[in-house]
């Protein structure tokens, strides 16, 4: 598995072959609690724009926007997670990725926080 990088809005990105997988962090799922709704606003073929909201996640208590950590073209949406949102609580940074993206600029990934920096940012480092 490639290295995972993070944003301060609690998204993560990981290189898997030609694609980069995007999801929300384990810290974020824990803060949200049981996730009962996921709305992915993009489909395969759509453009992802770094910093722009591309999905909404709802837990019992609250709704939370998910922001694109990188720019690129969406290649796949993870249907397994759309059907079973509880997967995000179980494996947020593994099998519960939300979209797979063909990135426009590898430099965006390289400039993201690594796991140590993210842990520090959330007060666990």
């Amino acid at each position: 598995m490639g290295e995972t990088r993070y944003t301060d809005t609690h998204e993560w990105v990981r290189q898997e072959g030609e694609e980069q997988l995007v999801g929300i962090t384990d810290h974020a799922q824990h803060e949200l609690g049981e996730i009962v709704y996921l709305e992915v606003k993009v489909s395969a073929g759509d453009k992802l724009v770094k910093g722009k909201e591309f999905a909404v996640i709802e837990s019992v208590k609250a709704a939370s926007d998910v922001y694109a950590p990188i720019s690129g073209e969406v290649t796949r949406v993870n249907d397994a997670v759309v059907q079973n949102t509880g997967l995000i609580n179980q494996d947020a940074e593994g099998s519960a990725w939300i979209v797979a993206v063909k990135p426009t600029d590898i430099a965006e990934f390289n400039s993201m926080m690594d796991v140590a920096a993210y842990k520090k940012a959330i007060g666990e480092g």
């Binding site: 609690g33 009962v36 709704y37």
Partner: protein, 366 residues
Amino acid sequence: MASGEVKKTRLYSQLVKAGGDMIEFAGYLLPVRFTGIIPEHLAVRSSAGIFDLSHMGEFFFEGDDSARFLHHLLANDILGLEKSHICYTPMLYPDGGIVDDLLCYCLEKNKFMLIVNASNIAKDEEWVREQIKKFNGDVIFNNRSDEYTLIAIQGPRSQEILSKITDIDLTKIKYYMWDAGIVAGQEVLLSRTGYTGEDGFEIYVDLTSDPAKIWEGLWQAGKDYGLIPIGLGARDTLRLEKKMCLYGNDIDQTTNPLEAGIGWTVKLDKDDFIGRGALLKIKADGLKRKLVGFKMLDKAIPRHDYLIFADGKPVGKVTSGTFSPSLSIPVGLGYVETAYSPIDTRLEIEIREQLHPAVVAKAPFL
């Protein structure tokens, strides 16, 4: 302790030890969840759960005119409330709006305990003192909220569990009655009341008793029955499924008890009470809007203040909304124009700028 500082209840260390995820609520550090809102909610519906509700307010009234005063202050029948009995009642403004909704316990003739919402304690105290001045009778009032820990046990197995640690005959305490006695070696007052729609008890522990012994006692007694601690998150989903109003969401000073569906707590035929005149007129004019329960027909979750549409136009607003753990669908409460209040009426809820289909449903939802 400086005012504005966040307070801890006397059960704080027990809550943390039990795995509580603590947040600030009504000036206290309280758990929003332990294992998770959904398992906690389902535990209360199927077996039992325990809650620390010490943030709630406890007001005491005595004096030869206290019953007459409360009969005037509150909308329900207080003069007819006998010792050991409790009633649920709103406390109204002269225009019929709601100051708070509360429980009134008749401790003995001319001695009462009122349980008020945590977020309204200061406001309610000021209102009560103002009304006592105007009433000009023998009424002694004390706000003893800081002296009480309140532990609730709620769920179908509550009586089984609680009876293991008390000699009080719980079968004699009917719904909306109270008694006093020993629980886990501690002197308490307890009532068969609650905010979950399930059978259960609320246990009042003052400063002369140790609430930790009661919490530990219930925990041990309930271990084999599936008893778990419950946080504020599940407290909200439980009451919402049973269409129990939350002050600040479903009722406030801009809503009256008739439109909120709690008209049964208002005794318009009794002697004059604050708000009676306004309610008589509201009733005579017919209700313009009503609080209804609705079920979402897709997966988006309705939340407080979202607009409700029907026939292409806004007809109301969501007051409370959530994902119902028992039904596994999103549900909500909200005010709609009276024409749109019948069950099965189709509605649309505006969620993040999109309209999502919903339908007025029988509420309580289960």
